[in-house]
């Protein structure tokens, strides 16, 4: 077990090293692509906390991703940059507050009903922005000037620089991963695991499970907000698609393909998902058919194959490498 853990640690160190060095040799397109992948990996890990570790199948996770993006767009002044150090925590807090409000209602439900009501709330938010003139309606709104991270005369990083955005995303990914690992080992994390396995017994042991599920929902929503904020910063635009069910479904696929309840798995799932999407979209013309236009057909086929061949996802292999105590 020790040796396997060492191998796993070595793989993680190598991946982090490659990611850290990527902007030194890769073209701008790939640097931006991987920044986007890392942002999606943060979103996927936030959903894994709910889905994989607590057993709450949220089908409206895009709501919290989009909420932070919209919060930034609405906070940002008409001309000139927003302050990163205030707009970032405020946007994440907006996502957390939304998760608190929605969670307060949905966490009472279970199973299929939980899936339905999380989807319903996310769709309500989607149509709130899609059907009204708030923040540009269905077209979305541009964030013309990126937030500034200037403190006095010192600017630790500039979000106008794509390499800096890349490193901010990498740093956020690493911090979120470590935070979640610490959280899952804590008494709170163990309560979540207990709820996933047998909520009834948790109640009879004296745990008010509603409170813990709600706290988990809020933490997960806040982390999704970190991803949403970074995404809005990277693209300089927010639109209702950031809140839509298609994104919620994609993130769920990333988590399931990667392997629920492994954290690293969903991050790998996010990379796999986005690289495949890009790969299938750039398929050439063959026999008079634009294969790339029908990329979703290939994606669907891949999902079916992956489900058959990797029932526990890519991260299933990682899970087996963990000590029984970790899984306890």
């Amino acid at each position: 077990m020790m040796r396997e853990r060492a191998v796993l640690a070595a793989i993680v160190v190598c991946v982090v090293a490659v990611l850290a060095a990527l902007p030194l040799f890769a073209e701008k397109f790939y640097v931006q692509l991987f920044a986007k992948i890392m942002i999606m990996a943060i979103l996927a890990m936030s959903l894994d906390l709910l889905l994989g570790y607590t057993g709450l199948v949220s089908f409206g996770h895009a709501a919290f991703f989009g909420a932070a993006g919209y919060a930034l767009a609405l906070i940002a002044p008409q001309s000139g940059p927003a302050n990163f150090w205030t707009s970032f925590p405020l946007s994440v807090a907006a996502s957390a507050l939304l998760a608190l409000a929605i969670g307060f209602l949905v966490v009472r439900t279970r199973g299929v009903y939980f899936i339905m009501v999380t989807l319903a709330f996310a769709q309500m938010l989607f149509f709130l922005f899609f059907d009204t003139k708030i923040a540009g309606g269905s077209d979305g709104i541009y964030i013309d000037v990126r937030p500034s991270a200037r403190i006095g005369g010192w600017e630790p990083f500039s979000l106008d620089n794509f390499v800096h955005v890349y490193y901010v995303a990498l740093g956020a990914l690493a911090l979120v991963y470590l935070l979640l690992r610490v959280l899952l080992r804590s008494p709170f994390g163990r309560v979540l695991a207990g709820i996933r396995v047998n909520e009834h017994r948790m109640l009879s042991l004296g745990y008010p499970t509603f409170r813990y599920k709600l706290a988990c929902f809020v933490i997960s929503g806040a982390i999704a907000g970190i991803a949403g904020y970074l995404s809005a910063v990277q693209f300089g635009v927010v639109n209702p698609e950031m809140l839509g069910w298609q994104l919620s479904a994609s993130v769920m696929m990333m988590v399931i393909l990667g392997g629920m309840g492994t954290l690293i798995g969903p991050a790998i799932g996010a990379a796999l998902w986005m690289l495949l999407e890009l790969g299938f979209q750039s398929l050439p013309q063959a026999g008079g058919v634009e294969l790339g236009k029908h990329w979703q057909l290939f994606m669907g086929g891949f999902i079916v194959l992956a489900t058959l061949l990797l029932p526990n996802g890519v991260g299933g292999a990682f899970r087996r490498l963990r000590t029984p105590d970790d899984d306890a």
Binding site: F188, R190, Y207, R211, P324
Partner: protein, 259 residues
């Protein structure tokens, strides 16, 4: 009604209907600290329904549950647990993928004022770990802590069930057929444990193993069709004509174990 001592559990006129059927009908009993109160009766007598009401898993249709002089009728299971009412289940109700130790550790962790603790590792709390180890040892599972419960024998899983109830440090213990599915050796261990626990716990025991019941019970209540048929000291129950006719007879005559 007699005075209820602190830490003791009592019911007054407890009734629970399922549709038109009274699963528990007008049951008044008392379970004092330092005493094992056994509830016996044929299948369908309402024993488990009674425990489910006492633990908060079910709300009664009528009547009161009183804990240490306080009316706790209809409180949720987690509130009852926090007030010191621990229970074990007839059907093993544990965390199968977790180790035996983690099952008990999670049970012991529930006694922290709050588990909204996010940063220190759960396994670094020495008091909680020690309470879990004590519960494992008490239930005869010493050395079995690191084994996932799913990999334990059925009898050992039953022991985990009881160890978890103990790990929550209850003052009142509701044991629902703790010996069901246990081997002779494991049964003897649990009977010893119940005797030891009786010194400073109020124990309500539902059990079909009559030898065990008469070995540990201070008070016996016989239930038939949801109602109390007779209640009193073991000798009194043994001598009771009504009880023999209604219930004990079928055991002594046919030698059925009832499990």
């Amino acid at each position: 009604m007699p005075e209820v001592s602190a830490g003791a559990l009592a019911t007054r006129g407890l009734t629970r209907y399922f549709g038109g059927l009274a699963a528990v009908r007008d049951v008044s009993l008392e379970c004092r600290a330092g005493e094992v109160h056994a509830v016996i009766g044929p299948n369908g007598a309402g024993k488990t329904t009674l425990i489910n009401i006492l633990s908060g898993d079910l709300a009664p249709s009528a009547g009161q549950v009183i804990l240490g002089g306080r009316d706790v009728t209809g409180l949720a299971p987690h509130r009852m647990s926090k007030l010191g009412v621990g229970r074990s289940y007839q059907k093993t109700n544990v965390f199968l993928p977790f180790t035996a130790f983690e099952n008990c550790r999670l049970a012991a962790q529930s006694r922290l004022p709050s588990s909204m603790r996010f940063f220190r590792p759960a396994v670094s709390n020495r008091e909680v770990n020690a309470a879990a180890e004590r519960a494992l040892a008490a239930a005869g599972l010493e050395g079995r802590g690191p084994v996932p419960v799913a990999a334990l024998s059925h009898g050992e899983q039953r022991q985990v069930e009881i160890a978890m109830a103990i790990a929550t440090a209850p003052s009142v213990l509701l044991l629902d057929e703790p010996l069901a599915g246990m081997g002779a050796e494991e049964s003897a261990c649990i009977v010893d444990l119940v005797k030891r626990l009786a010194a400073d716990h109020a124990i309500l025991l539902v059990e079909h193993d009559m030898d065990a019941v008469f070995a540990v019970a201070d008070v016996l209540t016989v239930m038939v069709n949801g109602a109390v048929l007779e209640s009193g000291a073991p000798a009194q129950i043994r001598a009771s004509r009504a009880v023999q006719e209604a219930y004990l007879g079928e055991f002594t005559d046919e030698g059925a174990s009832g499990t």
